[in-house]
Amino acid sequence: MPTSYMKLPYEDRVLRPEALRSYDLETGPVGYSLDIGLNYYRGLPLSAVESLELTVDAEPVPEHLILVELNGKLFPTSQLSAAFTEFWPIKKDLRIYVFNGGIEDGPHQVDLRLILRCVYMQFAPGVWGMIDNSASRTLTLQGER
């Protein structure tokens, strides 16, 4: 039974330099979006997300301000673990929208804790391999996509 999380060496692609963007609507910036790459060698079902916690500039982002987009579909974080028919492939990002009214231009410290279940690696009933897809990086806010 594993005592630790698997962490592959592709961490650099989790939070890429252009990943943080302003999210602008009719009224101007309403928040920001953050693209999250997979640090694994294969794709996984979205239901593999065991936990997703985002901290920006040392402030945890409240769950109710977050929507997650994959394959053109939107999810509150609470629904991710149930979304077993959505596949998160290697070449696609999860996009997180945070509706906090916008953030300042310039650099921001982004800390993502993202734990994924390894859906083909069962050690015992209810016990699965775990993947650490976390990353931390200082990202500079980019303009609207």
Binding site: P9, D12, S47, A48, K92
Partner: protein
């Protein structure tokens, strides 16, 4: 390349680092790399290369077939998975296995693959799997993968089940990662770069199977002057990078029931040597068994270094060719 009935193929998993890290690296690029190595047969892992899994879009299958045809290469085997943990909080039952097996068999058939690699099928479902394999005209191979070894009880039970069921459709795909005898050079280099003493590392390797527990090894190495870097190395060598004397006896028990091989490797030197996996012994056992089929090179060194997958694959293919030509010659001499 076909040496005495043994052909060489490449698992496209070998190009995993390129596919994962280079946004513009596509399945077409992987096939170009395959062609450049003068290899025609390949394995494709669905959950790596497809955007939809367990069932790809028809357009995705079409793309692979078109890219293969134009390059004169062939999807020999399809790498499936039993993603039976897909439904959160649900312990998998027979329906979950049957669903994933059916999805993968369909895809393998659509790709024209003769073989489907599966990660795990419960023994009581194997008779149904054999029936499904007949339906779809696709042979099912269960990969024997580290940390399992061929002699392990559950592998031998699978072998017995295969014999009992009697279907030629069911077989093994031994992955040579089962036979790691010592850490690959890049893994050692990484620890040395982190400050580990090469002599202490050699001591750990030499005594990994001397009966010491992980805790006892930690204590011994501390006494010999080791620190944090050596501590990390011990944790790795007793954990997911475990190694030990190759289970060659177990290996030979599987050969009559083997569909093809994952010729897994981490690093081949310029001198065409693999200090990690006992290739001469493995290939000689394969030749001696009379096996006719495919050795599928599977590079996994990208876990330890900035890889040059094509260079490493070229070396590995030549290494295999050297050994097989030698074995073929010996075999000829012996059978005269």
């Amino acid at each position: 390349m076909n040496i005495d009935g043994i052909e060489q193929g490449i698992s496209l998993y070998s190009f995993n680092r390129e596919f994962v890290t280079l946004p513009d690296y596509t399945i077409e690029d992987a096939l170009d790399d395959l062609v450049a190595l003068d290899v025609q047969q390949y394995e494709l892992v669905g959950s790596v290369f497809f955007e939809h899994y367990p069932r790809p879009d028809p357009a995705e299958v079409e793309r692979v077939l078109a890219a293969s045809e134009v390059r004169g290469v062939t999807p020999f085997s399809y790498g499936g998975y039993m993603d039976v943990g897909r439904i959160t909080g649900h312990d998998p039952g027979p329906q979950d296995y049957i669903l994933d097996l059916t999805a993968d068999l369909r895809t393998a058939r659509e790709l024209g693959c003769r073989y489907l690699r599966e990660t795990n099928i419960p023994i009581d479902l194997l008779p149904m799997a054999a029936e499904f394999a007949d339906y779809y005209g696709v042979n099912i191979g269960i990969e024997v993968h580290a940390p399992s070894k061929p002699s392990d009880r559950h592998i031998q039970e699978q072998l017995e089940a295969f014999e009992r069921i009697g279907s030629e459709r069911l077989g093994f795909i031994p992955d040579f990662g089962c036979f790691i005898e010592r850490p690959a050079a890049p893994a050692l280099d990484r620890h040395i770069a982190a400050g580990a003493d090469p002599e202490l590392l050699e001591y750990i390797i030499a005594n990994r199977h001397s009966g010491l527990t992980e805790d006892q090894m930690h204590q011994r190495i501390r006494e010999m002057g080791g620190g944090e870097a050596e501590r990390v190395a011990i944790a790795e060598f007793f954990g997911f990078l475990s190694f030990g004397p190759a289970d060659l006896d177990g290996f030979t028990t599987l050969l009559d029931r083997t569909h093809y091989f994952h010729s897994k490797f981490y690093y081949v030197t310029e001198e065409l040597e693999d200090p990690t996996i006992p290739m001469p012994a493995l290939l000689s056992a394969i030749v001696d068994s009379g096996f006719q089929g495919v050795l599928m090179s599977e590079y996994e060194g990208h876990a330890f270094q900035d890889s040059d997958a094509p260079l490493q694959l070229a070396r590995h293919l030549r290494l295999e060719q050297q050994i097989l030509s030698g074995s073929a010659k010996q075999h000829e001499i012996r059978s005269r």
